[in-house]
């Protein structure tokens, strides 16, 4: 099926509170967070979609709008694919686990948990997978500050005409991802 047909079929199966979009040849189906597992099961069980192969699961930090969690499914028999996406709020970032559907989702959920701080209810052990022990913070969240950028000047020129000596008239710019001093870290709590 074409991406448009896959998206339309899943919307028809799942009902009214589900929307879809097609971009760059990929069907993306947005489902509400409580229907997360149900939507994935429907994509597997529906004979016209039959997306039985779990490819990956990850998340996107959408700042004030919370997190998007995505799972990519592929149909081995029908040779089409679909992204199922949901949105969860930032302060209560919890989703039901998909390990009951795909046991291989366990690693992906562990990685998403350590990188974004998203909880997966029902997962048997959300221990860190990739990060070293004792790592503090969730490095793929946008508020995570890279310490090297704070400690070390950005290599090369950030702006045209900028050089190492630095003209005094120019405002000194912060490297990307580093907030203003006093708004983060130990200074913010003072």
């Amino acid at each position: 099926m074409t991406p448009e047909e896959v998206a339309a079929r899943l919307v028809a199966v799942l009902g009214d509170d589900v929307t879809s979009e097609v971009a760059y040849g990929t069907a993306t189906v947005d489902v509400p967070a409580p229907r997360w597992v149900e939507a994935v099961q429907a994509a597997i069980a529906d004979e016209q979609v039959s997306a039985t192969y779990f490819d990956w699961l990850s998340a996107v930090d959408e700042l004030d709008e919370g997190f998007s969690v995505l799972v990519h499914l592929w149909s081995l028999t029908l040779h089409h694919h679909v992204l199922i996406r949901t949105r969860i709020p930032r302060d209560t970032a919890v989703l039901p686990t998909l390990t009951g559907v795909f046991r291989g989702a366990s690693w992906h959920e562990r990685e998403t948990h350590e990188m974004f701080g998203i909880g997966f209810e029902g997962h048997a052990g959300l221990v860190p997978l990739l990060l070293p022990e004792g790592f503090e913070g969730h490095p793929l969240r946008k508020e995570f500050v890279l310490a090297s950028r704070v400690a070390k000047p950005w290599p090369g020129a950030k702006e045209p005409g900028e050089s190492d000596d630095g003209s005094p008239s120019r405002r000194r710019m912060l490297p990307p991802g580093v907030p203003e001093p006093g708004t983060w870290g130990p200074e913010a709590s003072r």
Binding site: Q41, I44, A45, T52, Y53, F54, T99, G100, V101, F102, R103, G104, S106, W107, A124, G125, V127, L130, L131, P132, E133, F135, P139, F144, L146, S148, R149, K152, P155, P175
Partner: protein, 234 residues
Amino acid sequence: MGVTSGSEPLLFAPATLPVISGGTVPPSGLEAPAPMRFVLNWGRRYSLWVFNFGLACCAIEFIASSMSQHDFIRLGVIPFAHGPRQADLMVVSGTVTDKMAPAVRRLYEQMPEPKYVISFGACSNCGGPYWDSYSVTKGVDQIIPVDVYVPGCPPRPEALLHGILKLQDKIAGERLPLRASEKSVRPSAAVFQRPFVSPPPQVPQHGAVRHRVHGLDQPIRLEVPAVEPPTESA
């Protein structure tokens, strides 16, 4: 470099000999006589069993320099040692992450003295393009002593050959007691060690679609059929 007294080389250097450019002889009987030292260093520099710590794309260049085109065995670098315990030279080629760092350190500790390290490529020199990463160690020299740094991203195989020649020059002028005293101030591997990873807890059995996938996070059990004992009647 030579130990000289007047113009004649000394066959047996006294333990208290206060010479050689830029250093003093440590007060020990370990110092070999100069000709013997030359022979030992000559042997060491041309039989470097190399242990490849290939961690990223630089390892491809390293492997290329071990192959017939560049063929570093003609310089006396022998590919490959069977493990760190048989190796003289470790080439760290690639991105060292904080997660990998204890393993690098542990394998370095397993190598017998005298041991040498070449840091190959920008990542293992200083972090390279990952200088601001949350997970990359900013240079392998933060965890183990490095003898030669080869710059490049990735370096050409010729750069590694140049680095090997530099290392051999260094070995040629080496005096083991000095080398040992340099090393002794470093912390032991226990600082970096952590306990072994325990297996994950059992995930409970799941529903109807469970048979569709095979979770790789669980150990795969091999079902071995029971072998019936041979019967006499056959």
